[in-house]
């Protein structure tokens, strides 16, 4: 399958709160970051958790967020980041200037 995003793309994690076995932590939802690696495609764990086959497979990315983007009052180095594994279904292209 083709990956929708490439390394360097700015993306925004969807602002959603679905029930179930969700693998996208709350602290990155509605935050913008940069794709730093296209990891590969994996059976969707949000489906596998309920005994379903996990298809279609999901592309998994490393998305890197500046800590100051995640936490406005962040105390620490301005270069500090978090890198989170995020599935494609959770990502939208980030708006210009994000």
């Amino acid at each position: 399958m083709t990956a929708r995003y490439s390394v360097g793309d700015k993306v925004r994690v969807r602002r959603a709160d679905p029930p179930g076995h969700v693998r996208t932590p709350t602290f990155i939802r509605d935050h913008a970051g940069t794709v730093t690696k296209v990891v590969g495609s994996f059976a969707n764990p949000e489906e596998l958790a309920y005994g379903r086959p996990g298809t279609p497979k999901q592309t998994l990315y490393w998305v890197q967020f500046p800590q100051t983007e995640l936490w406005p009052d962040y105390q620490g180095g301005l270069k500090d980041t978090s890198v989170v594994d995020v599935y494609e279904s959770w990502l939208d292209p980030a708006e210009e200037g994000a």
């Binding site: 693998r23 996208t24 932590p25 602290f27 990891v39 590969g40 994996f42 764990p45 998994l60 890197q64 800590q67 995640l70 936490w71 105390q75 620490g76 180095g77 301005l78 270069k79 500090d80 980041t81 978090s82 890198v83 989170v84 594994d85 995020v86 599935y87």
Partner: protein, 218 residues
């Protein structure tokens, strides 16, 4: 009896007024729903012949036998051999196989500490951990405090482990939420240029492979 000891309080071993807190035995706690379910599912799987009791025991023993020694050997090899390090950064599981180490089927990513970037691993959602290379996670790794604070205030948590980094070093927190596990390649300590792989292996600690500490030569 109290007077024999020259104390002015009662001192009776059967009725000591300041009892040492008793460490509860396993059976003293309640059998929770999940404990009962775990036992029941294991028994059902054995009854249905999905696996045998012996296979089950062997798998538990295999998991218990894993230790940070395997991860340490790989890091020492990576320090000593740039080609191996490149292989490890590309594909940890394949690099492990080269050393006759079974890293398991879950892809493990190696992240390398440099003078500019310090990597540290957390799983905010549960306790994902590269068990096949470094054994069972320490209790603090699974604690809610570590899991929530490592993304919120990593420098404060690292300082509690004795790791203080200047502000111009990027702290890069990897949240292992999905299908990957992570292993940090710590920086090779200074003054170890003449050491062979075995001596280097002995320097590598579990905590340095998680990224909460630096390595020092002592």
């Amino acid at each position: 009896m109290g007077s024999e000891h020259g104390h002015d309080h009662e001192h009776d071993h059967g009725d000591w007024p300041y009892p040492h807190p008793k460490q509860p035995d396993l059976e003293d706690g309640p059998l929770t729903h999940h404990m009962a379910m775990t036992e029941a599912v294991a028994e059902l799987l054995i009854d249905k012949g999905i696996f045998s009791a012996d296979e089950f025991r062997r798998q538990l023993e295999l998991m218990d036998s894993k230790s940070p020694a395997e991860g340490a050997r790989m890091v020492a090899r990576a320090w000593a051999d740039p080609d191996f390090k490149a292989h490890m950064l590309e594909d940890v599981n394949a690099a492990a196989k080269e050393m006759d180490i079974d890293a398991g089927g879950i892809p493990i990513m190696a992240v390398e500490n440099t003078p500019d970037v310090h990597n540290v691993i957390v799983c905010t959602l549960c306790s994902c951990y590269p068990r096949n290379l470094i054994g069972l996670p320490p209790d603090w790794y699974k604690s809610r405090a570590y899991r929530s604070r490592m993304v919120r205030e990593p420098r404060a948590v690292l300082a509690e482990f004795g790791t203080v980094l200047p502000d111009d070093v990027e702290i890069r927190v990897h949240d292992s939420t999905a299908d990957l596990r992570y292993l940090v390649i710590p920086r090779r300590p200074e003054g170890t240029e003449g050491m062979d792989e075995e001596a280097l292996t002995a320097l590598v600690t579990r905590d340095s492979l998680i990224g909460v500490t630096h390595l020092k030569t002592e």
